[in-house]
């Protein structure tokens, strides 16, 4: 495992109802010293073939920020990154709108890619958010069930199984 970066990385976690500014967040990371790579991931509300109007995301205020912060801290301890930004929206999010942003920066691309994927995988299974679907006809669907594939994606980063 590579040693963590000597400088304290920028870690910024936000949980908010409104949209985020991807170019601005990316630019904040690009401006950090000795950055050679910025990776950004945006999670978007699918329309599911046009049947979905929106998602309603409930969250646990306070714990959501803290838990994402813990995951970001783990990423910063594990890879030599210069910065990590995570923004998760809550409330009603229309099909086609952004839901979540993860952005990481490092000197070389490997750490930025790995940290971004780790952050996203763990955020999905550990950050306290729950979603339900709102359909075009106005009906509200049941609470979305957790997917085993998401647990498996997070589990592959465990130290005893992860291939780094």
């Amino acid at each position: 495992m590579p040693a963590a970066s000597p400088a304290t990385p920028l870690v910024d976690v936000r949980v908010q109802p409104g949209p985020f500014d991807l170019p601005a967040e990316s630019a904040r990371l690009s401006a950090l010293p000795d950055v050679g790579a910025v990776v950004t991931f945006t999670g978007i509300c699918r329309s599911d073939g046009g049947r979905l109007e929106a998602l309603e995301l409930e969250h646990y205020p306070g714990m959501a920020e803290e838990e994402i912060g813990r995951v970001a801290g783990e990423a910063a301890a594990r890879w030599p990154i210069a910065g990590a930004i995570a923004v998760h929206r809550y409330g009603r999010i229309a099909a086609g709108e952004d839901i979540v942003l993860v952005a990481t920066a490092s000197a070389h691309r490997g750490a930025a890619f790995a940290a971004a994927e780790f952050l996203m995988d763990w955020m999905k299974t550990r950050a306290p958010f729950w979603k339900r679907e709102i359909f075009k006809d106005g009906t509200v669907g049941p609470w979305v069930e957790a997917r085993a594939a998401d647990d498996a994606a997070a589990d592959r980063w465990r130290p005893d199984t992860a291939a780094e």
């Binding site: 999670g43 646990y60 714990m63 838990e67 999905k124 306290p128 729950w130 609470w143 957790a146």
Partner: protein, 83 residues
């Protein structure tokens, strides 16, 4: 102590939060759930399926065998589906 409920746990109990005094002898999260299930049909419905409900003590994920002594806030919720 304050209990918080989220998503379908909140809907089934009919509460987003409530103040409770845990009963004598309730030492772990599992003990607390067992007691909650005795409080009425709505709680039985919310907590009836073993192994589904997750818990957090003072905003940190907690296992079912975690001690609840000294906790200010305990939250119950289904598996998370963010992202």
């Amino acid at each position: 102590m304050k209990l918080l409920y989220f998503a379908w746990i909140r809907e089934r109990t009919g509460h987003a939060e409530e103040e409770i005094d845990p009963p004598e002898g309730a030492e772990t999260v599992a003990d607390l759930i067992a007691w909650l299930k005795t409080r009425g049909e709505e709680y039985e419905h919310a907590f009836g399926t073993d192994g589904i409900v997750r818990a957090a003590i003072d905003r940190t994920h907690a296992r079912m065998d975690a001690p609840i002594a000294g906790a200010r806030e305990i939250a119950f919720f289904p598996p998370m589906t963010g992202g």
